[in-house]
């Protein structure tokens, strides 16, 4: 057990190192912060001095080592663009993204499971077929287009919901929340739909196919033979067995929801880390981009680790193998 945990942790650290190297080297070569940061009046000498000051003239290995040793302590320096410590900046934007991701995840999970069960139980029904068809339209449209269309219909034409931002937020010390105000809750609706739609479809299809598999198994047949009610069989046995892999995958999807928030946040001007990342990419704000990538992979590695350990606890046979996320 301890050896297994240790191995997983060492692997996770290696993963983080690779991500660090990738994010560092990627952003070392994109764009030129110097030209962006200097105004139109800068001279060639100004440029040379700035390169020197930013350490852009040091050997790459030195730059990477600097980056790494500071990253471990959470010090990513100052954002080139916003002149604020990167960590502070990311922590101040994280609540917005996490609230959005969390609500999207929960909504996607509840609706996805509900529709999944429904479509599995009424496999040949008209309702279930239309749900499957609509869900396919949902995954066949790019996220950004869905967001724009929602804004057009619900914000501009109907004027029911806000088109951008988080509305009024309440500051709870180190966390700002939009849950406590009406405008904050209203502002969540469209981004949550945009972000959650894709995940919801994934979960729905997963639940549907898992349910269908389970319903075919012998023990369900025995249960029926024993005369248990349909309700008890469907929800007491079939759904229960379905949910283990579904919850796992939903957990693993949290990381990707946070990252997919990039597009949603861009469209809705949502003040989270995703929007921060894309704005930073445009400005070649290296420290923010590097920190963002590391943060996302860190969140994932932690979730992954927890899921692994849980699996190990639940079923020792499973060790390295586990269900591949559905597609």
């Amino acid at each position: 057990m301890i050896a297994f945990i240790l191995r997983r942790i060492v692997q996770s650290i290696l993963v983080m190192l690779v991500v660090a190297l990738v994010s560092f080297s990627l952003f070392r070569y994109v764009g030129d912060p110097v030209a962006t940061m200097l105004g139109q009046e800068a001279t060639l000498q100004d440029r040379a001095e700035l390169r020197e000051r930013l350490g852009l003239n040091d050997p790459i290995v030195v730059q990477f080592w600097d980056f790494l040793s500071r990253a471990v302590t959470g010090d990513f320096g100052l954002s080139y663009r916003l002149q604020q410590p990167v960590m502070e900046l990311i922590l101040s934007r994280l609540p917005a993204t996490l609230e959005l991701a969390l609500i999207s995840g929960i909504v996607a999970f509840i609706v996805g499971v509900g529709l999944g069960v429904y479509t599995a139980l009424n496999r040949r029904g008209v309702g279930s077929n239309s749900i499957m068809a609509v869900s396919l339209i949902g995954v066949s449209l790019p996220t950004f287009l869905i967001g724009v269309l929602l804004i057009w219909v619900f914000a501009v034409e109907l004027q029911w919901l806000p088109s951008f931002g988080r509305g009024e937020t309440v500051d709870l010390g180190s966390w700002t929340t939009g849950f406590l105000t009406e405008s904050g809750r209203a502002s969540l609706v469209l981004p949550v739909i945009t972000l959650g739609l894709y995940q919801m479809t994934l979960i729905m299809r997963l639940v549907r196919s898992e349910m269908l598999e389970v319903l075919r198994t012998d023990y369900i047949k025995f249960a029926r033979a024993r005369g248990l009610s349909n309700r008890a069989i469907n929800f007491g046995h079939a759904l229960k067995n379905t949910l283990v892999p579904v919850i796992t995958i939903a957990g693993l999807q949290m990381g990707s929801i946070i990252a997919f928030a990039i597009i949603t946040e861009t469209v809705f001007q949502w003040p989270g880390v995703g929007a921060l990342f894309i704005n930073s990419v445009q400005f070649v704000d290296v420290p923010v981009m590097a920190a963002y990538l590391l943060l996302i992979s860190f969140i994932f590695v932690v979730i992954n680790l927890i899921v692994d350990l849980l699996y190990y606890v639940v079923d020792p046979r499973l060790r390295v193998d586990r269900a591949a996320p559905g597609h």
Binding site: V34, A35, T36, L38, G39, T43, L82, N279
Partner: protein, 533 residues
């Protein structure tokens, strides 16, 4: 369109007094507490008033800090913290500024000449992004509490034009908070002044979350009449569609960067007003006419060196089509790379050739390229109004005369380095002229690159004779003679076809009904000018 730029300071004061009294009468209407929700594409980069010379930053700063002189919507200089200014009668190298009395900073401190002297030193600091505009200053001196002398290294008749973005800070506050030097933005420095302010401006900072929301409230101790707008909520919204949607759905009152295609729809929407006006910015193409060989061309020489090729390229450019379709009328096609606001502009220069494909083809053949040639065209896609679409349109026009331009369009953070590092053969650029004088164009765009001047001379144009004249106009006191020299320089530049101007862009501000605001030529609107109807 142009205004008489070189009137003496005295006449200017008289006019401004008239304008001021008119404005006063207007402002006396009962002003209730009103909030304006102001949205534009980007946020201020910092709140340090001397750290970043960049449009959106300056626009925000003008609400919190104030300048000695101010540029009005019609382009003229107006008194602000300085009530009058003139050249010292005994010494042509000294500018005398009389300060307004009874001005208070947000922290309660009085504005005195010492603060101005301090600010002059601060803005000339190495870390200041505005130091180039004060390069000829030798030093400032407080004569009494309300008189400042600024000593120049030579006669500088146009210096006040460089002061429209020169913000005055409080000496005591700056010393107490260790911000005597400006924040060194380029070195990634952060200072108290990055997020804290103490200006004399009409609004004080209440809260700020960079890129999300900045709130300002009217400062009760401000010297001027109370404006109608008493609270400003400033929100950057990057996506065009979201920005327009926010106005249509009533979440913001003012959108400063309106996409040209949405102007018509907004104009026809009940409850929305759109105001348009020219920006002091010209959009042009430039090409490397200095190197022997191009980086991206498929020929072994440099076609741009040949006057026939440059003429052919000008004849291929259909400015009217770009104005009508790409810009939907929101541009003023021009034949000179200089906005009409700028001293040196004439209607004669502004005239442009009509496209002539056959003649252009003939010229290309004459220059030795009967089958044309191919070259990359570099273009930003997030800086000017429809920049990428303009480039695309020109690619098509060049294609018709046989020049195969390969469009490379990218973000401004990747585009501008190509020009400053001289790694582009052919590119689009827009140039704003904050001093309203031709020398600003000459010094950056066409003067031979010598490390200080010519930093943006991606054309690699070099004409020693012109260089001499460009330097001479900096200290020429005889304004008539100076204008004549400017005219001569432009004549030569036009003859050499150094830059290929397209148009001056028009700006559009959209507001909800009942909010009135004129377009500001430098695109730095002031909320004090907002009138609620």
């Amino acid at each position: 369109m142009g205004f008489d730029f070189l009137r003496s300071a005295t006449t200017r004061r008289t006019t401004s007094a008239l304008v001021a009294s008119a404005a006063l009468a207007f402002a006396l209407a009962p002003a209730s507490a009103e909030t304006i929700r102001w949205a534009r594409v980007g946020d201020a980069l910092t709140l340090d008033p001397h750290s970043q010379n960049e449009g959106p930053t300056t626009a925000v700063m003008h609400h919190i800090y104030e300048t000695l002189v101010d540029r009005e919507v019609d382009g003229t200089l107006e008194p602000r913290l300085a009530t009058e200014w003139s050249i010292h009668p005994d010494d042509p190298t000294v500018w005398v500024f009389k300060l307004r009395e009874g001005v208070k900073f947000h922290g309660g401190e009085d504005l005195t000449a010492e603060d101005v002297v301090f600010s002059v030193e601060r803005v000339r600091h190495e870390a200041s992004d505005f130091k180039g505009l004060h390069a000829n200053v030798v030093g400032a001196e407080a004569i009494d509490d309300y008189t400042v002398h600024i000593k120049m290294d030579g006669p500088s008749p146009l210096y006040p034009n460089n002061l429209t973005n020169f913000f005055i800070m409080d000496k005591g506050w700056s010393e107490a908070n260790d911000v005597v030097a400006p924040q060194n933005y380029d070195a990634g420095e952060e200072k108290f002044s990055t997020r804290n302010t103490n200006g004399t401006g009409p609004y004080k900072l209440i809260s700020r979350d960079p890129e999300v929301r900045t709130v300002m409230q009217h400062f009760d101790g401000h010297w001027d009449e109370k404006p109608q707008v008493t609270e400003i909520i400033y929100t950057p919204i990057k996506e065009e569609a979201t920005r327009v949607a926010a106005l249509l759905s009533g979440e913001v009152d003012l959108v400063q960067d309106v996409p040209v295609q949405d102007i018509a729809r907004l104009q026809n929407t009940a409850g929305i007003n759109v105001t348009t006006g020219p920006e002091n910015r010209v959009i042009f193409f430039a090409y490397d006419m200095g190197s022997d060989k191009l980086i991206s061309a498929n020929v072994d020489d440099n076609p741009f060196k040949k006057p026939e090729v440059r003429e052919a390229m000008a004849l291929a450019l259909d400015r009217d089509a770009i104005m009508k379709v790409v810009m939907r009328g929101q541009s003023l096609p021009t034949g000179v790379a200089m906005p009409p606001f700028v001293n040196g502009w004439t209607e004669e220069l502004d005239k442009y050739e009509l496209p002539d494909v056959d003649k252009a083809k003939a010229l290309l053949a004459e220059a030795g390229y009967p089958d044309g040639f191919s070259v990359d065209l570099n273009c930003p896609n997030d800086r000017y109004l429809n920049d990428e679409a303009i480039c695309q349109a020109y690619v098509g026009m060049l294609g018709r005369i046989g020049i195969n331009a390969n469009l490379v369009s990218q973000s401004r953070s990747l585009h501008f380095p190509l020009i400053s590092n001289r790694t582009t053969d052919f590119y689009l650029l827009g140039w704003g002229v904050p001093t309203f004088d031709s020398s600003y164009i000459f010094n950056f765009l066409v003067h031979t690159d010598n490390g200080t001047l010519g930093g943006w001379n991606g054309s690699r144009y070099s004409n020693p004779e012109l260089d001499e004249m460009m330097q001479a106009i900096a200290t020429e006191v005889d304004l008539e003679k100076r204008n004549e020299m400017i005219g001569q320089i432009w004549a030569q530049l036009q003859a050499d076809r150094v830059l290929l101007p397209v148009h001056n862009q028009l700006l559009a501000y959209a507001t909800r009904e009942g909010v009135k605001l004129d377009v500001h030529p430098e695109n730095t609107p002031k909320m004090t000018d907002v009138v609620f109807e």
